[in-house]
């Protein structure tokens, strides 16, 4: 069981994530968008969205420090275990609570604003469930890591070595299996999130436009040589009927 969960699933997830991204990048560039709903509602979005996204960026940074940087390194620069955990807890909970608060605002907005709710697909709803679960379990681990500290088991001795061992294709299954339940849950939900990632609107994160900082302002382009694809027939009429059919 442990082998399946911590030795096989991570690689399955990785293959689906990378394969899915490549497939979608090649075949569904047009669907690759944030699908912004700001046109419908802007007030709540302008509060919730930045809180959520900046919180998330901090969370990602926190994961990097926790998972990638070995314990021996931080100890080598003279950071005590206590100081490290105090930092992790402080920054981690601020970021985590911010992310959770942000997404609660966003989900409230999505549910309560008519047009925004109508523009929400089943795909989005599934994604929100997994995303919120990952955040909640993540906060649980942050809290749990404080208390489990007294038992001498921290994620830096269990999850992190396992995480790093995945990349050298020799998964340290025993280390991960020793981690508390909260970490198991968070990791599993996290893997689920990354598995569905390429097939949800979350893909927009992979095209974060950092190259904007470096590109010239004015873009000249010669007439494109587009791929030849058979034309589809049919259209979507302007009207309210498509809204009705969606409700059915």
């Amino acid at each position: 069981m442990n082998i399946l969960l911590w030795g096989v699933l991570p690689y399955v997830m990785f293959v689906v994530l990378v394969g899915g991204l490549i497939w979608r990048y090649r075949y569904d560039q047009f669907g690759w968008t944030t699908r912004s709903s700001q046109l419908y509602e802007s007030r709540l979005l302008r509060i919730g969205s930045p809180i959520f996204h900046f919180g998330l960026l901090a969370v990602i940074a926190g994961h990097f420090f926790g998972l990638v940087i070995p314990k021996s390194w931080t100890e080598a620069v003279g950071m005590s275990e206590g100081l490290y955990h105090f930092n992790a807890l402080l920054v981690g909970s601020i970021a985590g609570v911010g992310t959770l608060g942000g997404i609660i605002i966003l989900i409230y907005r999505r549910r309560k604003t008519g047009p925004v709710f109508m523009a929400t697909t089943n795909n989005d709803k599934l994604m929100y469930v997994v995303l919120v679960a990952a955040i909640i379990f993540g906060l649980w681990t942050t809290v749990a890591s404080v208390f489990s500290n007294t038992h001498g088991i921290t994620y830096r001795d269990t999850v992190s070595p396992w995480f790093r061992s995945l990349f050298i294709l020799q998964p340290d299954i025993a280390a991960m299996a020793a981690a508390p339940l909260a970490f198991h849950m968070h990791t599993l939900v996290g893997m689920a999130l990354f598995t569905i990632w390429p097939f949800t609107r979350l893909v927009h994160a992979f095209t974060a436009p950092l190259h904007y900082l470096f590109r010239p302002y004015i873009v000249y382009r010669s007439r494109d040589k587009g791929a030849s694809v058979p034309a589809r027939s049919g259209w979507s009429e302007v009207g309210t009927r498509d809204r009705d059919t969606r409700k059915r």
């Binding site: 075949y27 912004s36 040589k225 694809v229 034309a231 589809r232």
Partner: protein
Amino acid sequence: MRVMAQMGMVMNLDKCIGCHTCSVTCKQAWTNRAGVEYVWFNNVETRPGQGYPRRYEDQEKWKGGWELNKRGRLKLKAGGRVKKLFGLFASPLQPELKDYYEPWTYDYKTLVDAPLGDDFPVARPKSLITGKDTKITWSANWDDDLGGTTEMGHLDPIVEKVRRESEDKIKLEFEQTFMFYLPRICEHCLNPSCMASCPSGAIYKRVEDGIVLVDQDKCRGWRQCMTGCPYKKIYFNHKTGKAEKCTFCYPRIEVGLPTVCSETCVGRLRYLGLFLYDADAVTAAASVTDPQDLYQAQMDVLLDPHDPAVIAAAREQGIQEDWIDAAQKSPVYALTKVYNVALPLHPEYRTMPMVWYIPPLSPVVDLLRDQGHDAEDPDVLFGAIDALRIPVEYLAELFTAGDVDRVTLVLRKLAAMRAYMRGISLGNEPDESIPASVGMDGATMYEMYRLMAIAKYSERYVIPKAHAEQAHDLEEMGCSLDFDGGPGMGAMGSSPFGEASGRPTPVAVETFHALQDRQTSDSVAGADTLSGRVNLLNWDGNGAPPGLFPQRHPTEPPADVAALEGGGGA
């Protein structure tokens, strides 16, 4: 000198009767789809008026276009690259739907289905966004013909500004009001700020003809272009999550046909043609310190297509002979740079717009006529242009960054043309002192009159075809709007990734070749030229080609669509 070609347009505002035919045909051709119900690539505004979206010219609020930083260099008014990236998660300056209007339809079905009763059934307005009953409170031309101006006239940002500067000289009481129409499309700027604002780099300017397009595959829906464009001519398709804009009807332009708005213009007020310009000089020209110098700077960027040095440089850049020839015959070049009567819209935004306007003399003429004067007497007209400061100041805010003298000169030229030609029509000896008074000679003035009054189709639209050696690129070009949910009218089913994801459906330019053939030949077109999809503007009324009508049972797609979607794994 790096010579590039640019398709440009000139609109003669004196001829606009505000019939909205351009808007309607444009909408039929390009934005008659779910997701862009509120979008008008071409709209006609009554001025004074708030415009569409409301008060879009208030750049203190919307921060569109460019400004100069302390070192005198161009910077986006809404902020630099880093600031834009930090604002990515919720665009702070993006217009909302209420700034445009909430699109609606009517519940026509009730009219047919209502049971017999004492009351007449009523078709209630239904919001196209929510599908629910709605109250219609605004539209793209709600203040058409000065409707509501007594209450809302002061909300026009230009009125506000002129008023502030002229101590309430502008009166909006009806008896003193002047009015004209301003049709607007994307300006296809030489220095577009939408393009500079796009984090993804999805907006591009075509090297061949300068048309600005949005690559629908590259667009990720960050919406910064909407903030960046001071004319608010980039729209968000709320179904596909992508930006869309006026395409200058590039599939038509490529086969030598005018844009839909020009083709269908009742007043024949639009002119299409090429400019040759120096691409290396654009940034410097857009950076001149005094906004009132921007007009001249923009004119200096445009090159004389008769100048042998320019021709040589153009050839060096690979511009073909027929394009150089077209640039020489270009009516837009003549109106802007030879006769100097066409002005750019809001040059102070520093985007170097390439849709130009001949300012209207009619507000002045109408006022004179109403006061019982002879509106074609040159002396009366000249005096009136100087005396009627208010319309002139208003026009100056629109077209010359407030340079009243420049607008006055153009209006005097138009007035002189009227007077000069009246003399000729009455059989008098041409009065050469009239053109001389505005710095022209009689022959030039007569040519200008010909171009502005009686020019034929082929003189108003001088559009060189895209080159045959590039034909294989053109036939299935994968750019701009022709996608699922695009005007290509691909299937819009709700796929698992949200609306309208999937492979793009490229433009079938051969459809436009067929259209061009039909328009220039006498034979009737067979239905076989229309493959799968039908643009109603291309349909000549013969038969019912497949794709003309939507499927009878939308739940059952035809076999080929099902196969295609299955193959896509969607």
